[in-house]
Amino acid sequence: MEKEKLEKEYEQYVKEKTPVHNVYMNMLKAFITGGAICVIGQFILNYCKGKGIAEDISASWTSLSLVFLSVLLTGLNVYYKIAKWGGAGALVPITGFANSVASPAIEYKKEGQVFGIGCKIFTIAGPVILYGIMTSWTLGVIYYFLIKAGVTL
C-alpha cells in the first residue's frame, strides 16, 4: 500500500518536472536556424562557382568552410548556444556533424591523446561513418548486380 502511494507520488513528481516541449515553437526555431546555415552554404557555393570552380569542387569548398566555421564556433562556445536555441536546426546540417567531432575532442583532452581525444572524437562521427559506409556499400553491391543483370538506373 505504502509502496504504491510512493510510486504514484513519484510519477506525479516526474510529470511536473519533465519540461513540456512546445513542438511547434521548436520546429520554427529549427527551421530558421537550419535555413540560415543552408543560406550561408549557398553563399559560399555561389562564390566558388562565380570564381569558375567546378561544381563538385565548389561543393567541397562549401563543406570545408562550414566545417571550419562550426569548429571555430564550437571552440568559442558559441555553437553550443546556437544548438540550444536552434535544436535540430543546428544538428542536421554538416556543421552539427563538425560540432559533434570538435566538442568531445576539446572536452576530453585531459584524458589523454589516445583514450581521451582519439577515442572520444569518434563518439558521434564513428556511428555516422560506420552506418553511412555500410549503407552506401550495400547499395553499391545491389547496384553492381543490377548492372550485371542488365538493369540500368
Partner: protein, 118 residues
C-alpha cells in the same frame, strides 16, 4: 532565388528532424545516423539529385546530402572499377567533410580549453 530555396528546403528538413527529437526518444546521434543512411537510400533511388538541383545548398548542407554524396561516390567507383569500387567510393566521397572535421577538431583541442559545466 536560390537563396530562398536553400533557406526553406534546408529549414524544412531541420524542422522535420526536430519532430523526431521531440516526439520520439531518438537521441541526436541516432538522428544523424538516420539522415546519412536516408540520404544514401534517396540517392540510390535517383530522388536526391533532382531535389538538390532545385534546392542547392538546402539539400547538400544537411546530413541527408552527406549520405547522398557517399552513395554517389560508390556509384561512380562501381561504374569505373566494378565490384572493388563498392569498397572505394564511399570514403573518397566523404573525405573532405570527415577529414576537415577531424583535422580542425583535433587542432581545436590544442587551442581551446574544456568548458566548465554550469
Amino acid at each position: 532565388m536560390d537563396y530562398v530555396n536553400a533557406f526553406w528546403v534546408g529549414g524544412i528538413i531541420c524542422a522535420l528532424a526536430q519532430i523526431l527529437l521531440d516526439r520520439t526518444k531518438l537521441m541526436p546521434g541516432r538522428v544523424m545516423v538516420l539522415l546519412v543512411c536516408g540520404g544514401a537510400v534517396l540517392g540510390f533511388l535517383n530522388l536526391y539529385e533532382p531535389f538538390q538541383e532545385f534546392a542547392g545548398a538546402g539539400a547538400s548542407v544537411p546530413l541527408l546530402g552527406f549520405g547522398n554524396v557517399l552513395w554517389k561516390g560508390v556509384k561512380e567507383a562501381v561504374q569505373a572499377e566494378g565490384f572493388i569500387g563498392t569498397f572505394m567510393g564511399g570514403f573518397k566521397a566523404a573525405a573532405v567533410g570527415t577529414s576537415a572535421a577531424l583535422i580542425f577538431g583535433y587542432i581545436a583541442s590544442w587551442i581551446f580549453e574544456p568548458k566548465m559545466k554550469k
